[in-house]
Symmetry: C2
Subunit: 235 residues, 2 copies
Amino acid sequence: MIEAALYLIPVQLSDVELKHVLPELNLQLVSHIKHFVVENVRSARRFLKKCDKSIDIDSLTFAELNRHTRPEDIAPMLEPLERGEAMGVISEAGCPAIADPGADVVAIAQRKGLKVIPLVGPSSILMGLMASGFNGQSFAFQGYLPIDAGERARQLKEMEHRIMREDQTQIFIETPYRNNTLVAELCRVLPPAMKLCIATDITGPAQSIVTRSIKQWKGQLPELHKVPTIFLLYK
Amino acid sequence: MIEAALYLIPVQLSDVELKHVLPELNLQLVSHIKHFVVENVRSARRFLKKCDKSIDIDSLTFAELNRHTRPEDIAPMLEPLERGEAMGVISEAGCPAIADPGADVVAIAQRKGLKVIPLVGPSSILMGLMASGFNGQSFAFQGYLPIDAGERARQLKEMEHRIMREDQTQIFIETPYRNNTLVAELCRVLPPAMKLCIATDITGPAQSIVTRSIKQWKGQLPELHKVPTIFLLYK
């Protein structure tokens, strides 16, 4: 038996052996949890099977939490935990509740005074930051850049301002099929001396985390179409 | 043999079994690395011994990188990597280059076009954020709050502004012996409805990650003197 809590269970970012990116503790805990809140049932089942081949998937319960979930349906998902059973939160990739909808159920657990336990796992944001060489004492993750051209230009200006004035590393992502357009845009609008780190396929076989100035990137942009990528900017 | 690269090797945050917080891959890689850049030699040796009891510590080289290191002494530390040998970066606790001096050597490695590989491990910033229930789509880590009362008040105001206007979770730390003073101050100056998550001893035996409103915290503040703690604010 394990402690009754809401365990936040990270998932691998790419198709690697789990022991490359997850501590053994995670795999041990997972096989003791019967009730899960997941972003997607199919991929959560696949992940659990990978954690523990002998797992009896049919004995588990899954509640799906994603952008289609109605807010009023979230609180009832925590019933097993309220009666004293451990629960797990699993997102599609990486750490639940970071850049994904899991935060809603964690917020409700906190409001109800239930115990929440985060587990260690891969985060492309954090790993990109570590390997960028940028300031790790002050940084901001901005999520997706706005789609509207005007808002987007405004946000890039504001990020530039925070890099220069606050010494704050700026981190963001883009819908993968627009990555190439984004990098071209960054090279067009940012000062030549600004540094851009492009971190792709983190933990995966094609992992590449490269920091160059905008001036150096120009004319030799990598092919990023549909490749999961994190972008970081710093002076 | 392993690939010649600068491996960023996370360290446990508290006195726990390594397999609880580090993937097996890290332990395997570490025993193949002979040259290290470390925040503190003594604790790095202790960590390596914990990773691999059979390790021959005397055959390893250590260059110390911390706030006493002169900037011009950093680049030469990378010589082993430049001649094709794997190197590791190890900080006192948590992920190197996040809220610590390792970023300087990573920046130089990037400038020289050397390969940098971040490994998975515990980050109190990220684990605190996951378990807070706060917005994980937009967040900023601000490092230590300023000591000067005026600057400090100004920074708290600015953080409040970014929470309300930008929907951005604010994360910060304090020198541990001033934690109690900080929390009392937060309760005095922040709006009663603002939410504060206090995350202490992450991954340790006394781990507690609790989110409440400022109003709820008032009158029942936890004892945080000298306990490693991360603070998070959100609406």
